[in-house]
Symmetry: C2
Subunit: 208 residues, 2 copies
Amino acid sequence: MTYSKNQIRRYPIYLKLFKKMLSEGKVVVSSPVIAKELGYSEEQIRKDLQAVSDEPGRPKRGRDLAKLVMTLENFLGYRNSTNAVLIGCGHLGWALLNYPNFVGMGLSIVAVFENDESKIGASVCGKEVFDIKDIKTLLPEFKAAIAIICVPSEAAQEVADLAIESGAKGIWNFAPTHLNAHEGIAIEDVNLASSLAVLSHRLNQQKE
Amino acid sequence: MTYSKNQIRRYPIYLKLFKKMLSEGKVVVSSPVIAKELGYSEEQIRKDLQAVSDEPGRPKRGRDLAKLVMTLENFLGYRNSTNAVLIGCGHLGWALLNYPNFVGMGLSIVAVFENDESKIGASVCGKEVFDIKDIKTLLPEFKAAIAIICVPSEAAQEVADLAIESGAKGIWNFAPTHLNAHEGIAIEDVNLASSLAVLSHRLNQQKE
């Protein structure tokens, strides 16, 4: 089964909705209800859920919410834990360290790396801050598969290369720049400029 | 001309590259060079640039970098300024207020709204923090078209409704939840759970 990027992006949004409905005491959910809540087409919803679940939805009754939650949590890896290190503890890095939901998503940030000597050796949100120079020894010790990159864009490629050389298999890139890596490496960008461009474009369309 | 969301997301990434090349003293750029730098196909690059620029690229010589930068900055609205207010000054809100690049992208955060009385009346990064209760009077005074939502997900829909009632035309949503609004409102989500899901999925595919 192959999944499109946009499809995978929808699964955490379904999951959030289903957990909310469960907490409200609901037991089943149907595609029309999901369509109304999330604004996706019923056909898309059926395809998305069919792709992760063996169980067909029963047309009149809908799907079992608790089973859907379990299926999606498994699919998204929320029931496992992947270790990550965060590189660059500026404002954004600090905000991510304080983000309360990552553990529930199977992401465990185990250490922080910095090149700023005033930060090295300190502790941020309970994570020790290490010298970026030591990443080659430490990243394998931490069994970290993911490097979260929060450095300025000028430094991002260099830091990503270093993390990959140290054994990182995935890069979660918050620097507003494109990063290159060889094929076996997963790179996912959170590019605020791209997101703002989409919003601005829609705003301008409204004006026209 | 209609643009896909993914296409619009690519324009700031092109712009970043072209500005870097200009700063390195380069004058022209060709699709193969862009393809190598950004990993997009040459066909896609030609289509993307053709869609915003009247000028055809000359096959042997490439495109004029300075003109491309100007074209993209105009297309993305970086030469205008849109006022925004930020709602919810927690860790992430604070990081966004400290983000140095928004002004260069035509986004001007003019005020902050909070419901936490200990923060109201204070100043954060030079922006005054106002009581969310006063948003209906203040948002029109600030001529703010965009509300940046950084509140916890439970409060996000309520706060978005309030911003829209107060006159906001666009919602930049950083709360990890889906928001509903009527058709004339532009909503763009920065959903970290969706982004992490894409990264995790690719990491798992590597293991298989």
